[in-house]
């Protein structure tokens, strides 16, 4: 159950990666930053007393803003999209620390009775007092940061209510996205992904489409970041670390299971992939040590997995199956990371 819940939230993040990497065909690395931004904004909002739903909406909104900045830097300043993503991700690290007011911000679950005091105040003595006759000093008392417990939408009781909530949010996102992508501008966006120069005839600027694509992708990523932080009960400066690779692995996992399919299932596939990826990760951590597998090997394994899948598809294209060949070609051209 816990794996399913977390897998779904990670899957939602993977959906954002899917939009940038697959639908608009722009390898966007803002992900690590926009996920963390969503997390930071959501917890900050909850701590300030805003309801959780607004917190999550704000997370999605700021994620979208981050995506639009990457898009603008990429298109208007003609900076390579990979570099643009890395630059925005780097900027967001600093921004996130500002948003959280420090490197770590919990959803307050206990009311502090008094702030943590210095070692000297708590222990009374360090055994060195005799040394400091002249320079003995008194320091001020600190005050604790929060005074109220924030109400979280997740109760972590594994009674299914958290799961329902997550499924609700994801369904809403998928419905909105599939409707939007079937509309005329949505179709143009998808066309832009498969043939960027082809859309010139539609009379819509490529700049607008690229920026829109990255905005939508990071909106979804910010949203999942916000959900994840509330689900985990805290946000941390490092919460987004490695998300883009996890997202990609989930996207590819989804494609292996469901194939490259029509739009609606296409949107579902990264979410399924996310759940499976999370389950495998969990299994590897739990039982992997029996075959000498360490948690620190996970990153190597994930990257090797991505390379292997892309590589296998490429190799099998020489096998002669025409359909497969097309598929691989498309995949290959899509995966110029």
């Amino acid at each position: 159950m816990a794996i399913l819940e977390q897998g779904l939230i990670i899957g939602l993040m993977a959906l954002g990666v899917y939009i940038s990497f697959r639908i608009v065909d722009l390898p966007d690395l803002t992900t690590d930053g926009s996920f963390a931004l969503g997390a930071a904004v959501a917890v900050r909002a909850v701590v300030s007393g805003l309801p959780a739903w607004i917190a999550i909406a704000l997370a999605a909104g700021t994620g979208a803003l981050a995506g639009s900045i990457t898009g603008t830097i990429h298109r208007k300043l003609k900076i390579n999209v990979l570099l643009a993503g890395i630059l925005v991700m780097t900027m967001l690290y600093s921004v996130n620390l500002r948003v959280m007011g420090g490197p770590n911000l919990p959803v307050p679950r206990v009311v502090p009775e008094r702030a943590t005091q210095s070692f000297e105040e708590m222990s009374g003595s360090t055994g060195l007092e005799s040394l400091f006759g002249e320079i003995d000093i008194d320091t001020e008392k600190r005050e604790s940061r929060t005074t109220v417990v924030a109400k979280n939408i997740f109760n972590n009781d594994l009674d299914g209510s958290d799961l329902m909530l997550i499924i609700l949010v994801i369904s809403a996102v998928i419905v909105v996205l599939s409707v939007a992508l079937k509309s005329d501008p949505g179709m143009t966006l998808r066309a832009f992904g498969s043939n960027p120069s082809g859309v010139v005839s539609f009379g819509i600027s490529q700049n607008v489409l690229a920026i829109a694509g990255l905005t939508i992708a990071n909106c979804v990523i910010g949203l999942s970041g916000g959900l994840f932080a509330l689900y985990s009960g805290f946000s941390d400066a490092t919460i987004g670390q490695g998300m883009v690779v996890t997202g990609l692995a989930s996207v590819i996992m989804g494609e292996i299971l469901l194939g490259r399919v029509k739009l609606f299932y296409g949107l579902l596939s990264p979410i399924v992939g996310g759940v499976i990826y999370q389950a495998l990760l969990s299994l590897a951590m739990r039982y992997g040590y029996r075959i000498g597998f360490l948690a620190s090997d996970m990153k190597l394994l994930t990257a090797v997995f991505i390379i292997t899948v892309i590589g296998l598809r490429q190799l099998s294209s020489s096998g002669g199956k025409r359909k497969m060949k097309q598929e691989v070609k498309r995949l290959w051209s899509n995966s110029k990371i």
């Binding site: 502090p112 360090t126 320091t139 009960g233």
Partner: protein, 323 residues
């Protein structure tokens, strides 16, 4: 695949029935945090709780990933471990958020109140208790002033992305204000950034102070090289950091933090509920004063005899002697 899965689940189920499990998780692999884990495990063994004999110790490292830390926490809860130990802030927070009933012992968290783990130090209702690695910041800066009376500006090296270090920086600021010192932040989120900031700011500082920062601990070899070149003294809160080029160190080592944590785990395994145990810092007896007279000679500093008299560890001519 399915069959293998079922078998595995059964195996764990049977193990779980016959033996209690202690789930230990740390956010990242790091000498200090690994020492905490070793301390916990050693104390468990000394008290007759041996891995594989009467308990199962399940150690999971999140490798720096918060989402993995959350996965680990949920996994511990779903396998219904007897006690969960969370080393460092994010791992502890992930555990505390995952269960309101399973006893949780946190460790190496400097400010558990700001991290929303417990409402205050001491006894608290609920399932959470732990050991803070709060270090005597004020005393460390007093030692600095005593040994280096001409110092006006102190550079504090830390990673502003580490919760523990930000807390220590607050205390350092208060102490510096009271001592009439100017405090300059030398920050970096990676080893490389940190050394670059140090190189850029070293001319502005008369001495360097390092708290219990993980990034600074990883960069200490480079930091001490720069400091020695400029003949600037390093005062550190972590004895292991001080050993790599520091003039003075005053604090404890993380193995002791782990041992204190292990004692709480033992109490809980013996049946004491966490609400009857105290969240605390290490005692005065665990504090170690480290002095390196070789470095003092190299940078032209004379360490007061009064400090030398109280030192527990003194390095002279490359040999460390304990007193």
């Amino acid at each position: 695949m399915k069959r293998v899965l079922v078998c595995l689940v059964l195996c764990v189920g049977v193990l779980g029935l016959s033996m209690q499990t202690v789930g230990i998780t740390a956010i990242v692999e790091h000498p200090a945090l690994d020492a905490v884990r070793d301390g916990v495990i050693d104390v468990l063994e000394e008290n007759g709780f041996k891995h594989g004999e009467n308990i199962v110790i399940d150690f999971q490292n999140a490798q720096g990933s918060v989402s993995t830390a959350v996965t680990i926490a949920k996994q511990f809860v779903s396998t219904n471990v007897a006690v969960m130990v969370g080393i460092a802030t994010p791992s502890a927070q992930a555990l505390v958020n995952a269960s309101k009933t399973i006893p949780i012992v946190f460790s190496a968290v400097t400010d558990p109140v700001s991290a929303s783990l417990v409402p205050a130090f001491g006894k608290n209702p609920g399932n959470v208790v732990g050991i803070s690695d709060m270090t005597p910041v004020k005393t460390q800066l007093q030692l600095l002033t005593l040994t280096l009376p001409d110092v006006e500006t102190v550079g504090i090296i830390y990673n502003s992305g580490e919760a523990n270090s930000v807390t220590i920086r607050e205390f350092a600021k208060e102490a510096c204000d009271a001592l009439g010192l100017k405090l300059i932040d030398i920050t970096g989120s990676t080893t490389v950034e940190m050394v670059a900031s140090l190189n850029a700011q070293i001319k502005d500082v008369d001495a360097i102070y390092i708290g219990t920062d993980n990034t600074a601990a990883s960069s200490i070899e480079s930091i001490s090289k720069v400091a020695l070149r400029e003949k600037i003294a390093i005062v550190a809160a972590d004895i292991d950091i001080a050993r790599s080029g520091g003039l003075i160190g005053f604090g404890f080592n993380y193995y002791q933090v782990g041992r204190a944590t292990g004692e709480l785990v033992v109490e809980i395994l013996k049946g004491t509920p966490p609400s009857e145990l105290e969240t605390k810092i290490l005692g005065q007896d665990s504090l170690i004063l480290f002095v390196n007279t070789d470095i003092a000679d190299e940078i032209g500093v004379e360490i007061p005899q009064s400090v030398l008299d109280l030192a527990n560890l003194i390095v002279t001519d490359g040999v460390e002697t304990e007193r």
